[in-house]
Symmetry: C2
């Protein structure tokens, strides 16, 4: 992609309406655009990052035997009446069709998935299984916050597992907890923890939240040296005493990026989902559910890792892996070499951005900081005289190395693969 | 994936509520499940097919320099009031938030994309560009039909291009028309045509529909030997005379799978989207828009290609590329070899389904017909005695060949790659 055609608006100077640093960087870099209060358009840059996060999630969900499906954004009111939640969930958006039928915009999909699984499940032999989707949800929140941190419309990965015993659910729940740790680590998040939480409106017995420890978070969480972490529903806020070891806990703020629930039979009972057990009796399957805020994960990365210049993506999440910058030169040699390298990288499937615009070097670098390709190749007349291309690595705080032009042209692919491999670790 | 864990319900015998053959096969195979009238859940099977179609679309859109974005399902009423369509589009669903704000479920995204592009576009130097998304839409249709053929909620690929001259739009429009031909051909559709259509409510000058010629289609289209095709808005239904050559046209039925429009400045004018032209004046960009019904494309394949046993996917769309079936045998040798082959294929990333269930051969084959992997590997005691695995190719009307077991084990990957390559042509 050539930078002049990229349908992204980068802003210079201060940004109106940003309440946190990550939100400011997301707006300055043109990652997100507010279509309505709490609803965003993801630009080509923002969507590339979110797609990268989605793919990491897909891989880890498939690794724990998840089967991807897609449920509708809308559903009939009947399903929500069956579960008894139609009049209980305040963020549930209701509307009528022209023909007068009652619909909702699903804020979560327990009702819809249980109704689907009713059409599939017959015998214990099919259990356990897990289905998941990555899909749009709408919640009529009274308050939105910090760009993609709290929105009304958002992309969520929601997974639902079905079991024939509590033990089996617990085993799977722990596999999913491990998968979540892998997902957030692969996304480049650093200071995240899982904390015990209350199951609240969702029903069930055990639940955990995945929280990014961050001062701009709106949740209060408690961490203990003994390894026990919990949110404020579980810990007495007056004493701040660890329910496990009795010591005083550390109180910090967090951004909730995921949550997992042992639901039990709340939904399978209320919606009459059953299977035939080995002894011939009819049983309600035991359920777990597992959510990740996909857009919020992008926002969380920006809250944790962005500096004053822009975001810091890792090799897995970056919208482009390489950016080639040709600095202004009189005889056009830099632009020519930049184009050559660009075509070669593109032909091998590297996600590469090319900047040969006739603008100041400072503008090019400021733009590159906001797009934040982990590898930046700078071609300047001065370097070319020494047969060199300057390589800068954003993830390593702009570490610089020199690549001889001869290698760059003859053997750039091997060289670059090695760099990518090193930076991916 | 092992077939016993696949969260898919296959139905035996007749299916209630199916109005067409493709719809019947989609329900029998458990590809789709009706969550509400006109809203479907895609099962792991259906979603695999739709994802495959989405990836074909993405590749061809990227090939014509498209930039993928994601716009919200919901938007504020204000954008639809700006364009003047708030009270004109009968399928537009309106609702109010708790706080009393007016929202809509977008049935199409001209308003939303123009508002986004207003935040990006400044100068003619940025033109032309095209942005697209693959996303959920909702239309409050009075009538739904034949499964995914006509629904209320559906997945659409919608693309929007922006130009500084009519000539440039026309050039791009033709590139997009070519890309559509490639997309539908790669999806395995055979008898599709593009027909001139009226621009209708969308505004603009020139428009084409892509129609799959099929008796169950609800549209009437006219085809002429001279190469001119049009829909009934363009051709006089009384005379059926070709407006181009004057001969009598052939009247057939079609399923609309895509449409492309030269919109002109209808939306850029009404919503005040401008850019600075080379002469310094402020101009409205000239727009095109380009839609594909993604779920409907899957439905169209099933209407055109399914036989009595099930759908016929090609290598690109099939939910699984290979299915391994172990037939019942006394000493367990078939199951053992099947498991071995399965693990090997899986480890190389082949999308493979394994059936080692202890059920009748007839049930296994009936299930395999509905899942319709292009390559079926059948391991039976009888064949094993002759060191052979039976290979059946669904795309070639169950053509059969024999693979020596020794090759299958030692060199299956090369062998299979050659078969896949041949079948992909």
């Amino acid at each position: 992609m050539k930078i002049e055609n990229l349908c992204v608006k980068r802003l210079i100077g201060d940004v109106a309406g940003a309440t946190t640093h990550g939100h400011k960087i997301a707006l300055k870099g043109g990652y997100i655009y507010q279509t309505f209060q709490g609803g965003y358009t993801l630009s080509p840059l923002g969507w590339r990052v979110v797609k990268n996060i989605e793919n990491i999630i897909r891989q880890e969900m498939d690794n724990i035997d998840g089967q991807e499906i897609l449920m509708p954004v809308v559903s009939g009111a009947d399903l929500w009446r069956q579960s008894g939640r139609y009049d209980k969930v305040d963020v549930l958006t209701k509307f009528k069709s022209r023909a007068g039928a009652d619909y909702v915009l699903n804020p979560t999909h327990e009702e819809v998935v249980v109704d689907f699984v009713k059409s599939v499940l017959e015998t214990y032999r099919q259990l356990p299984f897990m289905v998941y989707q990555i899909q749009t949800k709408f919640r009529d929140e009274l308050r939105v916050r910090a760009g993609l941190v709290r929105t009304r419309e958002f992309i969520m990965k929601d997974a639902y597992s079905f079991h024939n015993s509590v033990e089996d659910l617990e085993k799977y729940y722990n596999r999913c907890l491990d998968a979540y740790n892998k997902i957030f680590a692969r996304c480049g998040l650093k200071n995240f923890v899982h904390v015990l939480s209350s199951t609240g409106d969702m029903g069930g017995s055990v639940a955990h939240e995945f929280q990014l420890v961050n001062d701009m978070g709106e949740d209060t969480i408690y961490l203990c040296d003994c390894g026990f972490n919990a949110n404020k529903e579980v810990v007495d806020g007056d004493t701040e005493i660890c329910p496990k070891c009795g010591k005083k806990m550390r109180k910090v703020r967090g951004i909730e990026i995921g949550n997992i629930f042992q639901l039990g039979t709340k939904y399978s009972k209320s919606m009459e989902l059953t299977y035939t057990a080995p002894d011939g009796t009819s049983q309600n399957p035991i359920m777990g559910c597992y959510g990740i805020g996909v857009g919020r994960t992008m926002a969380a990365i920006m809250e944790e890792s962005a500096d004053d210049k822009g975001p810091i993506w890792n090799m897995a999440t970056a919208p482009f892996k390489v950016e080639i910058i040709a600095l202004p030169d009189a005889d056009g040699k830099c632009v020519k070499l930049a184009n050559e390298l660009y075509e070669q990288l593109k032909s091998c499937g590297t996600e590469v951005l090319l900047d040969t615009r006739d603008v100041r070097a400072g503008e090019k670098f400021a733009d590159a900081d906001l797009i934040a390709a982990p590898i930046r190749m700078i071609i300047s007349g001065k370097n070319l005289q020494q047969d060199a291309i300057e390589m800068k690595y954003r993830v390593n705080n702009y570490d610089t190395s020199i690549l001889p032009t001869s290698i760059a042209i003859a053997n750039w692919k091997k060289e670059l693969d090695e760099i990518i491999c090193k930076l991916s670790k």
